[in-house]
Symmetry: C2
Subunit: 150 residues, 2 copies
DNA sequence: TTAACTGCAAAGAATTTGCATCGTG
DNA sequence: CACGATGCAAATTCTTTGCAGTTAA
């Protein structure tokens, strides 16, 4: 696939990894393309199942290793939703929309949401807090989705 | 111990549990008193270690069962900090200060913080979101503590 | 006396690691 | 050719469950 048809986030990720002395690999590429296409956070098991159903199976161990590496170079971030498993999603650049998560505690569905006013409030409070640096933040709202509340 | 010397949160918890048909027990009481005295979130393992060092050892299985029960009746809530283990802390009433968490990704320390403006922003956004009900929210800021950044 | 509470040990489930092999640079 | 990438299986670690004995109501 040429660079012109490659997803820009995947291309950026490959460049970052190459710069860190990493070599390309089919398993990691498959994970990157899945994360690039996904709009919200997935668990490692969901990633494994999705890739297998796409006939591009990747072993669970590799998935965890790949996600760990991507998290280290800040291409991916973990999302914790209070459910059993950790979720992962690609990090959006500053120009892209930054989102947070809604969790229905009844059916377990996870949805993204974003709100500029909330981001401003977070940016402001980040300056007053007893941390020398605030590198990221995570917000999760729990409740009942319309379907479950009906 | 009489009600007048018992921590108010512990007393409230015992009442709630009695109302739910539960009987009193020493292990649960020890966990309740620890959570009442603690200002921030603890992991199950920290609870176990602390109680053992206070010579009031409680088995790990009981700790998990107790925390599960307390979470069910909303006396305790889980806090996920992106670290390996889930943490637990007592739920504050509306009159008490509601807090969120700061995590130093370098040394792992977890600290509480609170900000009224942020709470207002959350309350406002909760009304616009595609959930029928928003029952709670969790905010975690990650970064480097002053000690680690120095 | 009944049903809840607990501890201990075994079971489960998610994640990590060891090791041999394959593939990229 | 060297070192990273990957799969498989075993090992870890946190959490849950089964069971038997203890205790509150």
């Amino acid at each position: 696939m040429s660079d012109t048809t490659m997803d820009p986030w995947v291309a950026q990720a490959e460049r970052t990894l190459a710069g860190a002395g990493r070599k390309r690999g089919g398993a990691r590429r498959a994970v990157l393309e899945l994360l690039a296409a996904e709009s919200c956070a997935l668990t490692a098991v969901q990633i494994e199942d999705t890739l297998r159903s796409q006939r591009r199976a990747v072993s669970r161990a590799s998935i965890y290793r790949i996600l760990e590496e991507l998290e280290r170079v800040q291409l991916v971030q973990r999302v914790e939703t209070g459910q059993a498993m950790v979720r992962y999603e690609r990090v959006r650049g500053d120009s892209e929309e930054h989102h947070h998560h809604l969790v229905c505690d009844s059916c377990g569905v996870v949805m993204p949401f974003s709100d500029p006013a909330l981001e401003r409030a977070i940016a402001k409070v980040s300056e007053r807090v007893p941390l020398a640096v605030v590198s990221e933040h995570e917000i999760v709202l729990h409740g009942a989705c319309r379907q479950c509340a009906a």
